[in-house]
């Protein structure tokens, strides 16, 4: 509804009726009647003021910038988390053969801390672990460097040349749990392809 019509009469606007009463003659007890009229007029004024004030305070209006957010709303975690690809890393000691690692930086732009509950990738033939292991927590303005280690379980099902590979990250804050796909871009794609070529080359099998 955008059109606002004339304001409805609020409580107390019936005071106009007392004006009609005033027109009626009161030859007897004029003194008391006069006092009653004065009292009635003052009461009517008070009621009208309060009624008008109520109407004014509750008038329809465009919300102001502040009124739009009557309370600070916690943002959805996917809207405040950023994941930036850093570089390829050697696989950690003790990792199974055909493993390789990458470093990413995860940060939270605003709102309460966000917990990363899971990091996966969607391709068959690859499994993923992280250091620190999920779940881990990230606070505003304290980005964390995460090492992602991938293990090739089946070379035939691993994408050797994906253009924009994903990392699927499950995020949780006090507002919601969401799974968000992060697409770290061409450097990640190149490093992933290279690592898969190396891991799945004949000499490494």
């Amino acid at each position: 509804m955008s059109g606002i019509g004339p304001p409805e009469p609020g409580e107390g606007t019936r005071a106009w009726e007392s004006r009609r009463e005033e027109d009626a003659p009161a030859p007897l007890a004029a003194r008391y009647a006069r006092r009653r009229r004065i009292a009635a007029a003052l009461a009517a004024a008070a009621v009208l003021l309060s009624g008008g004030g109520y109407l004014y305070a509750t008038r329809p209006q465009q919300p102001t910038a502040h009124a739009r957010r009557p309370y600070p709303q916690v943002p959805y975690p996917a809207q405040v988390v950023d994941l930036t690809y850093l570089d390829a890393r050697p696989a950690p000691a003790g990792a199974p053969p055909h493993s390789f690692s990458f470093a990413v930086l995860v940060s939270v732009a605003s709102g309460p801390p966000v917990t990363v509950t899971r990091v996966i990738q969607p391709y068959a033939g690859l499994s993923v672990t992280t250091d620190p292991p999920a779940p881990f927590r990230i606070r505003v303005d304290s980005a964390r460097k995460i090492t992602i280690t991938m293990h090739v379980t089946e070379c035939g099902k691993a994408p050797r040349n994906a253009g924009l590979p994903f990392l699927d990250v499950t995020l949780r804050n006090t507002r919601a749990i969401q799974e968000q796909s992060f697409i770290p871009g061409p450097h990640y794609a190149q490093d992933l392809s290279h690592a898969l070529e190396v891991a799945c080359s004949n000499r490494n099998r």
Binding site: G3, R68, D82, A162
Partner: protein
């Protein structure tokens, strides 16, 4: 006399209270786009989109959303001494009409920025006209990568026009995003690819196909359709006979809807997948009940995830526009607001007045515009592309587009 005076005071107070109330109610529902600043300069923001024809649902959503931004700027007196107006022109989704509109807007000195167009093919015909006049253009909907990164964008990115910006994500991301979803999540390995031969449709189909093949998927057939056609039965039969598990369509909803319907009618009960060009409610009306399970990627996060977008939706409804804001409403609002922000920068830097070379200055200022918009943080990279690159996969469920996966490009 005394009681009469009191009654008169009472009446005056009542009238005052009611007048105060009535005044307070006027500030909603004013749909004028040029109210508020009285005096000072007038800045016109041109809008170019299809206001008639098959794609008018999206085009009118763009026009109304740009108007909403202008209303807000005027109401807030966001740029002191400047009153904004929009001038909306209909390009009918035709490049030639778009070019004529571009020339008209360039010829009007009060125009300091343009929101639009919808179609990448139309944008191609307008870019040079605007660039020669140093008139900034911010598209809310163009996704063709070449518009910002040059024809050879896959090998070497070169920005062709400094006056062109966009708030939408490009097909260089949208196509691969769809391919990843179809292959990995939907587990479809055989696709039939169809496009409408237009800049947007064929470009999007190409980026999808490339990524789908890289992932190990197989393209079992390809076809091009005529955008003016309504009978796709021959193509539908080919799809049925191909053994495809999914159809990818590069194009827009006026053709995608009937295509989906006719493919299912031919006996191929497989989903049709498209890009932002099919993500309009008209698609479901055209495709019918069997569209359930069809998919579309679209630029941006789902509206319900963005508090800023919720406010936009609420304001849009309150403004009383007849048409829906459609797929690009939020982006059109942000495009218009980006122009308003750029004008503000220029005016503030020039002692509160527009300089004589305002167009060039506004175009220059656009490069560094940054604000929290309806669709998130709005700013532009060195090519004029939006830095905010979010995408969402939607599926048709119960006759509506429902988000099923969201992604963020952070490269």
């Amino acid at each position: 006399m005394r009681q009469r005076s009191l009654i008169a005071i009472t009446a005056a107070l009542a009238a005052g209270a009611l007048t105060l109330t009535a005044c307070g109610s006027r500030d909603s529902g004013d749909k004028g786009s040029d109210s508020g600043n009285g005096g000072g300069s007038t800045v016109v923001i041109g809008v170019d989109s299809p206001l008639t024809g098959d794609l008018s649902a999206m085009g009118l959503g763009i026009k109304n959303s740009a108007d909403l931004a202008v209303q807000k700027a005027n109401k807030q007196k966001f740029v002191k001494g400047v009153t904004f107006k929009i001038e909306a022109l209909d390009d009918q989704a035709q490049p030639s009409a778009g070019q004529q509109n571009a020339s008209k807007l360039v010829s009007e000195q009060e125009v300091l920025g343009v929101v639009g167009p919808l179609n990448s093919s139309v944008a191609e015909s307008m870019q040079k006209v605007f660039d020669d006049a140093k008139l900034v253009e911010v598209s809310p909907a163009n996704t063709g990568p070449a518009l910002t990164q040059g024809q050879d964008w896959q090998n070497k990115k070169v920005r062709p026009y400094k006056a062109y910006f966009r708030t939408a994500t490009t097909d260089a991301i949208q196509g691969p995003f769809a391919a990843q979803y179809v292959f990995n999540t939907a587990k479809k390995k055989k696709v039939f690819v169809i496009d409408d031969k237009k800049t947007y449709g064929s470009g999007l189909a190409a980026t999808f196909t490339e990524e789908f093949k890289k992932l190990g998927g197989k393209v079992v057939g390809t076809e091009h359709i005529n955008p003016d056609a309504k009978d796709f039965s021959a193509v539908a039969t080919k799809v049925k006979n191909s053994g495809a598990q999914v159809v990818y369509y590069g194009g827009e909803y006026p053709q995608a809807g009937p295509l989906s319907k006719q493919i299912k009618a031919a006996g191929a009960k497989i989903p049709l997948v498209g890009g932002d060009g099919i993500k309009d409610d008209t698609f479901m009306k055209l495709a019918g009940a069997e569209a359930t399970g069809d998919l579309a990627t679209s630029v941006g996060a789902p509206v319900e995830d963005l508090p800023s977008a919720k406010q936009f939706v609420s304001d849009y409804k309150a403004a009383g526009y007849k048409e829906d804001y459609s797929a690009y409403g939020g982006y059109a609002y942000d495009s218009a607001w980006a122009i308003i922000e750029a004008v503000k920068k220029v005016v503030d830097a020039n002692g509160g007045k527009l300089p004589s070379d305002a167009r060039a200055k506004v175009t220059e200022a656009m490069q560094n515009v940054s604000f929290d918009g309806v669709t998130g943080k709005v700013s532009f990279d060195e090519y004029g592309d939006a830095t905010n690159k979010q995408l969402t996969v939607y599926a048709v469920k119960n006759g509506a587009w429902v988000p099923v996966k969201s992604g963020t490009y952070t490269g």
